[in-house]
C-alpha cells in the first residue's frame, strides 16, 4: 500500500530530477509532474479520492449530464458501438460549424488540442524556422519542437505577466510558428482582442510567411471587456490557426477532444500531415460527447464561467488579504506569488491533501499555479495554504 509519505517522496524526486524540456515535451504539459510519481496502487484509490486536485486546470464538476447521457446512449442497443470505428466525426464537425458559424472545411479535430498543437509545430517549424513563444507558456509546442530538433525562441513576459507583444513580434522574424496562448497558461493573463489583432498584423508585416497559432483553450473563462475569438481572422487568413479544447470549461479532459479552426488551406495542411490518423485518434464516445456538449448551447459555458469567477475572486482575495499578489486571471487557475519555492509549497500542500501546480521556470522560486476547484474545495484548500505558508490565524499583511 502506498503511503502518503512515499507518494510525496516520489513526487519530490520527480520535481527535482527529471523536468527537463525534453521530458516535458515527451509527456505533455499537465502531467509532467504527476506521471513521474509511482503509480497509485489500487488500494490507494480511496486516498487519492480525498486529494483535492488543483494541478491540471480541469473543470472540477466535469461535463454536463447530457454529455454523460450521450456517452451511455452511444453504447447502442447491444452495446456494440464502442466496437465500431468512430463514424460521428461528421456530426461533430456539423455541430461545431453551426456553433462557431464556420464551415466544416474550416475545422479539423484532434485527440485533445495536444494533437493540434503538435501537428502545427510539426508542419510549420523547420530546422531553419523556429518556434516562438513566451516563457513561461504551455510547454507542448516548445517541448515538441525541441524534441524534433527545431529551434525555439523564448520571449520573456512583461512586468504584469502579460505577453510582451513588441518583443514577441520582433522574435517572429523568419520564424515558422508563433505559439500565442491567450489566456496564457500558466500565468493566467489575457491580451485583449484588439491588441492581438494588431500583433498579428505586425507579425505579417515583419515576417509574412510566419504562422500564428492562437491557443484559446481557456477562452470560455475570460471575463475581460475586450474579449473576442480570433476565429473570424483565421477564417480569412491561412497564416492564423485557432486551437480549442473540450478539456477546460466543457469539463471533458478525460475524453481527449480538441479542434482547430482555420482557413481551408491551413486545415488541409494540418490534416494531411496526420495522413488519416487525425480522426482515427478520436474515440467514439468523445465524438458523441462533443456533439452533446455543443448542444448545451452557451448556457453551459456561461454558467461555468460565472461559477469559476466567483471561486477565482474568493481565492485571489484570500491571498491578497494575506499580502500575496496574483496576476490578473482570466482562466480557471491563478498564478500567485506565495513567496515560497513552488516545490516546497507543493510538497507542503500535498502532505495535507491538496495538489497544486508544477514548477514554471523562471518563476518557480516564488510563484505557484493553483487550479480552481469548487468553492467547497477552495474553502478547504485555503485552510491548507494558510497552514503551509504559516499564515493560519491572521492576515500577514
Amino acid at each position: 500500500m502506498l503511503t502518503r509519505r512515499k507518494f510525496v517522496h516520489t513526487v519530490g524526486m520527480g520535481a527535482a530530477g527529471a523536468l527537463t524540456a525534453s521530458y516535458i515535451g515527451a509527456r505533455g504539459r499537465e502531467d509532467a509532474l504527476w506521471s513521474l510519481s509511482t503509480p497509485l496502487e489500487a488500494s490507494g484509490a480511496a486516498q487519492a479520492q480525498t486529494m483535492i486536485p488543483l494541478s491540471s486546470n480541469e473543470n472540477p464538476l466535469g461535463p454536463g449530464q447530457v454529455v454523460l447521457q450521450a456517452i451511455q446512449d452511444a453504447f447502442g442497443p447491444q452495446g456494440a458501438t464502442p466496437g465500431r470505428y468512430s463514424n460521428a466525426t461528421g456530426a461533430l464537425r456539423d455541430a461545431l460549424s453551426g456553433h462557431l458559424g464556420v464551415t466544416p472545411e474550416n475545422l479539423t479535430l484532434g485527440c485533445g488540442s495536444t494533437q493540434i498543437l503538435r501537428t502545427a509545430t510539426h508542419v510549420y517549424t523547420e530546422r531553419t524556422r523556429a518556434l516562438v513563444g513566451t516563457i513561461p507558456t504551455y510547454e507542448e509546442c516548445a517541448g515538441y519542437a525541441a524534441m524534433l530538433g527545431r529551434p525555439v525562441r523564448a520571449v520573456s513576459l512583461n512586468r504584469n505577466f502579460q505577453m510582451d507583444l513588441d518583443e514577441l513580434a520582433d522574435a517572429s522574424r523568419g520564424a515558422g510558428l508563433v505559439f500565442y496562448c491567450n489566456p496564457n497558461n500558466p500565468v493566467a493573463t489575457y491580451t485583449g482582442a484588439q491588441a492581438t489583432r494588431d500583433f498579428i498584423a505586425r507579425v505579417h508585416r515583419i515576417s509574412p510567411d510566419t504562422r500564428i497559432l492562437v491557443d484559446e483553450a481557456y477562452f470560455d473563462y475570460v471575463t475581460h471587456p475586450d474579449h473576442e475569438s480570433m476565429i473570424p481572422l483565421a477564417l480569412e487568413d491561412p497564416r492564423v490557426i485557432v486551437a480549442r479544447t473540450f478539456s477546460k470549461a466543457y469539463g471533458m479532459a478525460g475524453l481527449r477532444l480538441g479542434y482547430a479552426v482555420a482557413h481551408p488551406d491551413a486545415i488541409r495542411t494540418l490534416s494531411a500531415w496526420d495522413s488519416g490518423s487525425g480522426t482515427s485518434s478520436l474515440n467514439v464516445l468523445a465524438l458523441h460527447a462533443g456533439v452533446a456538449a455543443i448542444g448545451q448551447g452557451t448556457a453551459f459555458t456561461d454558467a461555468e464561467r460565472a461559477r469559476n469567477k466567483a471561486v477565482r475572486d474568493f481565492t485571489v482575495k484570500w491571498f491578497a488579504d494575506r499580502g500575496m499578489r496574483s496576476t490578473e486571471s482570466h482562466t480557471n487557475f491563478i498564478f500567485t506569488n506565495t513567496g515560497m519555492p513552488a516545490r516546497q509549497f507543493r510538497d507542503g500542500c500535498l502532505a495535507k491533501g491538496v495538489r497544486v501546480g508544477r514548477d514554471f521556470p523562471p518563476f518557480q522560486n516564488e510563484w505557484c499555479r493553483i487550479s480552481l476547484g469548487t468553492m467547497e474545495e477552495m474553502t478547504k484548500a485555503v485552510a491548507v495554504f494558510g497552514e503551509v505558508l504559516g499564515k493560519v490565524a491572521v492576515a500577514a499583511a
Binding site: 525534453s22 515527451a26 505533455g28 499537465e30 502531467d31 504527476w34 506521471s35 503509480p39 497509485l40 489500487a42 487519492a48 479520492q49 486536485p53 491540471s56 480541469e58 473543470n59 466535469g62 461535463p63 454529455v67 454523460l68 456517452i71 453504447f75 447502442g76 447491444q78 452495446g79 456494440a80 458501438t81 464502442p82 466496437g83 465500431r84 470505428y85 468512430s86 463514424n87 466525426t89 461528421g90 479539423t108 485527440c111 485533445g112 495536444t114 494533437q115 524534441m147 469539463g251 471533458m252 479532459a253 478525460g254 488541409r268 490534416s271 494531411a272 496526420d274 495522413s275 488519416g276 490518423s277 487525425g278 480522426t279 482515427s280 485518434s281 478520436l282 474515440n283 467514439v284 464516445l285
Partner: protein
C-alpha cells in the same frame, strides 16, 4: 467445396483466368494523397457510409432495414458487459485528465506489461495501433532510410511515409496471398523500417512463428540497424497451429517490436487503444513521439476491464471461427475462392471489379470492404459479422454474384 492450399495455387475461375497475385502491377498513384484524402483507413471506411447518407445518395441502409456493416474488420458484438460497466463507472472522471484518474494510463501500462512478462519500459500506448505505426514511421524512416512493406497490406505506414516524402518499397504478396518475406528480405539492406502485418490485412493470411523468427534473424544479419514492426492486430483470431506471437522475440531482440490493438477481437475499435511491445531501447523513441495522454479515461477503464475478462476474447475467437467457415463455404459454393483466413474477414476472388460488387451489395444493404490494389479488379475484402448477419449477407452475395457475367476479373 473446400479448397486446399495446394489446389488454390492452380485454381481457375470459370472465366479461365489463373490468379497470379504477385504479377499484378500497381496502378500509378493509387495511394497518393489525393486518392486518400485526409482521413484514415478503417475509420475512413466507416465515415464514407455516413457521408453517403448525408449527401442523400445511395443509402447505407438497405431496402429491408438497416445495413450490415462488413467493411471495417470490427467485432460485430462490441465489448463485453464488463467493459461497458467500467465505462459508466468512470463517469465521475470525465473531467479529469487520464493521468489524474486512478486507475489511470500508468496502471493500464503495468497491466499490459505484466500480461506479456515485460516491464513498463517495454510497452507504449497508442490512440489505436495506428498511432504506434505512424510514430514508428516518423521515428525510424528518413529520406535515406526507406520503409519496406507489402502490397496489399494495411496502408497506414505506407501513407505516413509517402506523406513525409520518405521512400517506400512495396513487395507484392506471394501466390498464396501471403507476405512475400523472401522478396522483402532482398530489399531490407539500409531500410529504416520493415512493416510485417501478421496476419496480413486485407489478404487474411498468416505466417508461422518459425518463419517470422527466421525472417527477423536474416534481416538482423543483413541490416542490423533496420527496425522490424510486426503488426499483430488480428492475433486473437488466428487458428493456424504454426502461428506464434512475436512478442517474446521482440522482448529479447533489439530493433524488433510488435503492435497490438483492442480494436479487433476485444471489440473496442471505437475506443482507440493500441500498444507496442519491444526492448526498452526500441520502444523509447516511440514513447517520446506519441501523444501524451492519448487514451481517454474511458479507454483506460475499458481496456483494463477487457484484460480482466479473457473469456470474452476466447468466446469471440470461437464465434468468429464458425462464422468464417460458414462464409468461406458460402462464397466457395459460388465459385469465389477465399485465401486461408486467420482473421475476422475473408479475402475472396469475386471475379469482377470490387467497386461493382461493393455497389451492388450496398444497394441491398450490405457494406463490404474498400478497394485493395492491385486486386481491385478481382477481390473483395468482406469483414465477418454475426452468423445471422452473414446468413443475410451471403444471400445478397448470391444475388449479386450469380446473374452477373464475370467481367475482366483481375485485369486492369
Amino acid at each position: 467445396m473446400s479448397v486446399t492450399r495446394r489446389g488454390f495455387l492452380t485454381l481457375k475461375r470459370p472465366g479461365g483466368r489463373v490468379v497470379t497475385p504477385s504479377a499484378g502491377a500497381l496502378p500509378p498513384g493509387w495511394l497518393d494523397g489525393s486518392a486518400i484524402g485526409a482521413r484514415g483507413l478503417e475509420a475512413e471506411a466507416a465515415e464514407e457510409w455516413q457521408a453517403v447518407g448525408r449527401r442523400g445518395g445511395a443509402r447505407p441502409d438497405g431496402p429491408s432495414g438497416p445495413s450490415i456493416k462488413l467493411s471495417s474488420n470490427e467485432n460485430p458484438l462490441g465489448p463485453g458487459r464488463a467493459v461497458l460497466d467500467a465505462i459508466t463507472a468512470g463517469f465521475g472522471n470525465a473531467g479529469r485528465y487520464p493521468f489524474n484518474v486512478n486507475p489511470g494510463d500508468g496502471q493500464l501500462l503495468e497491466m499490459i506489461a505484466a500480461g506479456n512478462n515485460a516491464q513498463t519500459e517495454n510497452v507504449v500506448l497508442g490512440a489505436g495501433s495506428q498511432e504506434i505505426l505512424k510514430v514508428a514511421v516518423w521515428a525510424f524512416t528518413s529520406p535515406s532510410r526507406p520503409l519496406v512493406t507489402a502490397s496489399p497490406t494495411f496502408e497506414n505506414a505506407t501513407r505516413v511515409a509517402r506523406n513525409m516524402g520518405h521512400p517506400v518499397v512495396e513487395i507484392n504478396v506471394d501466390s498464396r496471398f501471403r507476405l512475400d518475406l523472401e522478396s522483402m528480405l532482398a530489399t531490407v539492406r539500409g531500410a529504416g523500417l520493415v512493416f510485417v502485418n501478421n496476419p496480413n490485412n486485407p489478404t487474411a493470411t498468416v505466417h508461422g512463428g518459425k518463419t517470422i523468427a527466421d525472417f527477423v534473424e536474416r534481416v538482423r544479419r543483413i541490416s542490423p540497424d533496420t527496425v522490424i514492426l510486426i503488426d499483430e492486430a488480428y492475433h486473437e483470431y488466428v487458428t493456424d497451429p504454426d502461428y506464434e506471437s512475436a512478442i517474446p522475440l521482440a522482448l529479447s531482440t533489439p530493433n524488433v517490436f510488435v503492435a497490438r490493438t483492442f480494436s479487433k477481437a476485444y471489440g473496442m475499435a471505437g475506443m482507440r487503444i493500441g500498444y507496442g511491445v519491444g526492448t526498452a531501447d526500441t520502444i523509447a523513441p516511440i514513447t517520446r513521439l506519441r501523444m501524451p495522454y492519448n487514451i481517454s479515461v474511458f479507454g483506460v477503464a475499458a481496456a483494463m476491464a477487457a484484460l480482466g475478462d479473457p473469456a470474452h476474447v476466447e468466446a469471440e475467437r470461437t464465434r468468429n471461427t464458425a462464422v468464417r467457415a460458414f462464409t468461406q463455404k458460402a462464397l466457395e459454393d459460388l465459385g469465389c475462392q477465399c485465401t486461408a483466413s486467420n482473421t475476422n474477414f475473408v479475402f475472396a476472388d469475386i471475379g469482377r471489379p470490387n467497386a461493382e460488387f461493393r455497389s451492388a451489395c450496398a444497394e441491398q444493404g450490405i457494406q463490404t470492404g474498400r478497394d485493395f490494389p492491385p486486386f481491385t479488379g478481382s477481390h473483395a475484402r468482406i469483414s465477418l459479422g454475426t452468423m445471422e448477419e452473414m446468413q443475410k449477407a451471403t444471400a445478397v452475395f448470391r444475388n449479386v454474384l450469380r446473374p452477373a457475367t464475370p467481367v475482366g476479373g483481375g485485369t486492369r
